[in-house]
């Protein structure tokens, strides 16, 4: 039996070419030598077009997100870490325990193999660190200028602990609003590396998986949690407005209580942005029954990702669904969605 002496992928200077997406041996090699190697687990090794696992009966959640961040590498992470953490977070926001991820890659012809490998390894690391394996995937290659390096869509499933049912319409007047830490870090870190915008800052993306923090919150006071959201695109402002509209309530928040790093504030001054509109990738907003506020804050602050958790406001009855803010200056204002395209490709 003659075995073809497969040439190794040139991970130093090689590039993805169209043959890597054509369903032949070159594609098989790319998938095996980069993705399977980085994600390594029993499901991928089985080599099926789908992966199987045992589930207990109960309430499951499913979610997906596409990641198109530009640049692909930024302080504190890259598109790969976002793709793992971001989808885990959308599962965790239901109070659920994330179980498995899928990953669909769309790669531009010419993309350096070394970058692809680095992204895959970051995903593998993130997957091991979070305990959520990437069990199935897909790879497509498109011609130059038909994509922007690489896009990743991940989907994920998780199980909701019995009795928990968090819903976007569950906020009630009197509830308190807690954010798990400082806002705006991710968006500022990404923008700091944008061409034509470049500035220097020590800020790194807050990109992180929140399911550990959430598990603690659910265990301590699950019944008191009305709902959770991760304030990603559109930032805290968009998230609060979404909740307000879904729950048909208003918010009254306190600018002074919102944790913002001085460097983030400074970068926002440079760019003319409001930190409330800037994306986060490792933060959550929880709406919680008022009587559990202190307990919840204590639990959150005991977790590394919730150390700076803060009660930033409360829910009010308001047919107009306004998000109002008492400014640190002493006045009041409306916190609205950002209009338009100010910050594209942040995640």
């Amino acid at each position: 039996m003659i075995k073809a002496n497969r040439r190794k992928l040139d991970l130093k200077n090689g590039r993805v070419d169209l043959s890597h997406g054509a369903g032949g041996r070159a594609m098989g090699q790319l998938i095996e030598d980069i993705f399977h190697k980085a994600f390594d687990n029993e499901w991928l090794r089985a080599g099926n077009d789908q992966s199987a696992f045992m589930v207990p009966g109960g309430r499951m959640v499913m979610t997906t997100d596409g990641y198109v961040v530009s640049p692909l590498f930024f302080p504190g992470g890259n598109i790969g870490s976002l793709a793992v953490y971001g989808t885990i977070n959308d599962i965790a926001m239901a109070g659920a325990v994330p179980l498995y991820l899928s990953a669909s890659f769309i790669i531009e012809e010419g993309f350096p193999l070394t970058d692809l490998d680095r992204i895959a390894q970051t995903m593998g690391d993130a997957s091991r660190e979070t305990g959520v394996p990437i069990i199935t995937g897909d790879t497509k290659v498109v011609e130059r200028d038909k994509a922007d390096g690489v896009f990743i869509s991940t989907a994920g499933v998780g199980m909701v602990p019995a009795g928990l049912d968090l819903r976007s319409d569950a906020a009630r007047p009197g509830d308190v609003v807690i954010v798990s830490g400082s806002i705006g870090d991710h968006g500022v870190a990404v923008m700091s590396k944008r061409e034509n915008l470049e500035f220097d800052t020590g800020i790194v993306s807050d990109s992180a998986a929140l399911h550990g923090l959430v598990a603690g919150m659910v265990e301590a006071a699950g019944a008191a949690i009305r709902l959770m959201r991760d304030p990603t695109r559109g930032g805290l402002a968009a998230t609060l407005n979404e909740i307000a509209n879904a729950s048909k309530v208003g918010f009254r928040i306190d600018e002074e209580a919102i944790p913002i790093k001085p460097e983030v504030a400074a970068a926002c001054e440079f760019l003319g942005l409001d930190p409330l509109n800037v994306a986060n990738e490792g933060k959550l907003v929880a709406v919680v029954a008022p009587e559990a506020a202190d307990a919840m804050l204590a639990v959150m602050r005991a977790h590394p990702l919730g150390r700076e958790a803060a009660l930033v406001g409360h829910v009010v009855a308001d047919d107009d669904c306004f998000v109002q803010m008492a400014t640190s200056f002493g006045g009041g204002r409306i916190v609205d969605w950002l209009s338009g395209e100010q910050l594209p490709r942040i995640c």
Binding site: A265, A266, F270, G272
Partner: protein
């Protein structure tokens, strides 16, 4: 675009450029419109250009005036 903010000059660079900072964030801007910019100066930054220098004494005086007015 209408934004104008005071920033500190950290390094003067060739070609009338300078590196400026604001609370640990730094950026390279043009100082071609302002005479005699030195490291340590504060300038008002607008669309990538320094428009003018901040006079530290006058700034102190303004604050003093404000405090005075506030306590009047």
């Amino acid at each position: 675009m209408c934004l104008a903010i005071p920033v500190k000059v950290k390094d003067v660079l060739p070609d009338n450029m300078a590196k400026v900072t604001l609370d640990g964030v730094s950026k390279i801007i043009s100082t071609a419109l302002v005479e005699d910019v030195k490291a340590g100066d504060y300038v008002v930054l607008h669309v990538g250009y320094a428009l003018g220098k901040i006079d530290p004494q006058e700034a102190e005086r303004t604050l003093a005036l404000i405090r005075e007015a506030a306590l009047a």
